[in-house]
Amino acid sequence: MFGLRYLEDVVTLELDASKCTGCGNCIEVCPHAVFEIFEKKARIVDRDACMECGACAMNCAPGALSVDSGVGCASAVITGAVRGTEPTCGCSEDADCC
């Protein structure tokens, strides 16, 4: 059993504890239980579980969290490399609406 764990020590997630107000929004939005509240501040408890979705940083009002977010998708990386852009999953931005 190898489980559903991805590569170790690659994640770009950073938490600046000095800016954290302990509101707990990151815990609420994180889909992988990366954070917990310890002594009234957030702390990272499972860094390698982070998938860099960016929900925590997006909902951190004091800006204590930063992460180089994006889609963890090889096709997107390839598409981005071919088009010379950032990784993009080109997912249907609408081919034929109406």
Binding site: M1, F2, G3, L4, R5, Y6, L7, E8, V10, V11, T12, N25, I27, E28, V29, C30, P31, H32, A33, A49, C50, M51, E52, C53, G54, A55, M58, N59, A61, D68, S69, G70, V71, G72, C73, A74, S75, A76, V77, T79, P87, C89, G90, C91, S92, E93, D94, A95, D96, C97, C98
Partner: protein, 382 residues
């Protein structure tokens, strides 16, 4: 998830010079749906901002058929509903407002969990893309949310200022930016709509389990048809190439060899395709390695080793050891590449991780493929 169509610009030519409100209204009025009520609606109700459709809370066979079709990639990019406000039951000014994407499956999942309740559903224009993917791109984002609230004149319809959003939209929606922007309070509900009744009955409290995404066997199995459909054309292309190549050999071009070596080659390509697009996703947690490319390579390698072992001490089902060696390189390379592309459909891979794995995997896959073809071709002349 890896989806592929191109951006051809704004829906209904909404010019970017228009004010956002007008643009949003125009988009909302653009009738992607036929004039008669859609099959998932059971009437309409009048509100201060006009007549809106009431939706059914039970899914019909037609809804299930639509879900099944998109899993096979049929009409997947056109499986959407018109953005705007919808009613569930007989909602009042105090009824909760749920927000979702205009991907029909997202909308279906939400409404099917609201049985016996009175609520409003605000559907954002996410270009027919599901909640998580559209939030990742920002189309399910703070701006679209604020624009849509204004477009449907939500403040005239409900007296409270709270919106319940799916948790996975937090990648695109910033609760504090919306709060600052127009005063609405964004509350993130559970990840899965199936947890919504318990969440609501508990007074809008999510358990830690409701907050976590999963990637169960069932979750992975439903993704396999689309993986297979998306790669099928490449399987056909590679098969044609190998069928043509297999005619070459000692003593000139031979049609018999196409039937023998050629069909065997198609079978090997089919095995590589199934190893990468079906078996790797299905067996994901049980395959050694963390990188998806490694997992895919293992499955492909295992398949060829079994075929060789079948005929030991000879080269198994193959003509000679060079042919066996060619497939020993080609099949793992192909299945590794296909499995690597499943990262986009998975729920736990990070972009940094995918980039790191690709730095090693892509050159390895290319080298193994090139070497495999050379070895296989040499084997044709032995």
């Amino acid at each position: 998830m890896n989806e592929s169509t191109r951006n051809t610009g704004e829906c209904c030519q909404g010019s970017s010079t228009q004010k956002p409100v007008e643009q949003a209204r125009e988009q909302q009025e653009c009738t992607c749906q036929p004039e008669e009520a859609p099959h998932w609606s059971d009437g309409s109700i009048d509100t201060p901002s006009g007549r809106i459709l009431r939706v059914k809370t039970t899914l019909t066979p037609r809804d299930h058929l639509g879900t099944w079709m998109v899993h096979w990639g049929i009409r997947r990019m056109r499986y959407k509903i018109t953005p705007g406000l919808y009613a569930v039951g007989s909602p009042t000014q105090q009824s909760p407002v749920f927000v979702t994407a205009n991907y029909k499956m997202s909308f279906d999942r939400l409404r099917s969990q609201l049985w016996g309740r009175h609520a409003w559903i605000l559907v954002l224009d996410t270009k027919g893309v599901n909640v998580w993917c559209s939030a990742g791109k920002g189309t399910f984002g703070s701006e679209e949310l604020m624009r849509r609230i204004q477009a449907v004149r939500l403040e005239e319809i409900v007296s409270h200022r709270t919106l319940i959003l799916p948790q996975l939209s937090a990648t695109g929606v910033s609760a504090h930016i919306v709060r600052k922007g127009n005063g609405w309070r964004v509350v993130f509900g559970p990840v899965r709509s199936e947890d919504l009744p318990r969440y609501l009955d508990a007074g809008m409290k999510a358990t830690p389990q409701m907050r976590c995404v999963r990637f169960t066997l069932a979750n992975r199995l439903v993704l396999i048809p689309l993986e297979c459909v998306e790669w099928f054309k490449y399987l056909v292309l590679a098969s044609v190439v190998f069928l043509l190549l297999s005619g070459f050999g000692t003593g000139g071009y031979s049609l018999e060899r196409i039937q023998d070596v050629g069909l065997r080659s198609v079978l090997m390509l089919l095995i590589a395709y199934l190893a990468g697009a079906a078996f790797s996703p299905a067996l994901l947690p049980w395959i050694p390695g963390r990188a998806f490319s490694v997992k895919g390579a293992w499955i492909g390698l295992a398949a060829v080793v079994v075929l060789i072992a079948y005929g030991l001490p000879g080269p198994g089902v193959f003509d000679n050891w060079l042919e066996a060696g060619g497939w020993l390189l080609l099949v793992p390379a192909i299945s590794s590449f296909l499995a690597m592309n499943f990262t986009g459909a998975s729920t736990y891979t990070s972009l940094s991780g995918v980039r790191r794995e690709m730095r090693v995997a892509v050159p390895s896959q290319i080298t193994a493929t090139a070497a495999g073809i050379v070895v296989w071709v040499v084997g044709r002349f032995m």
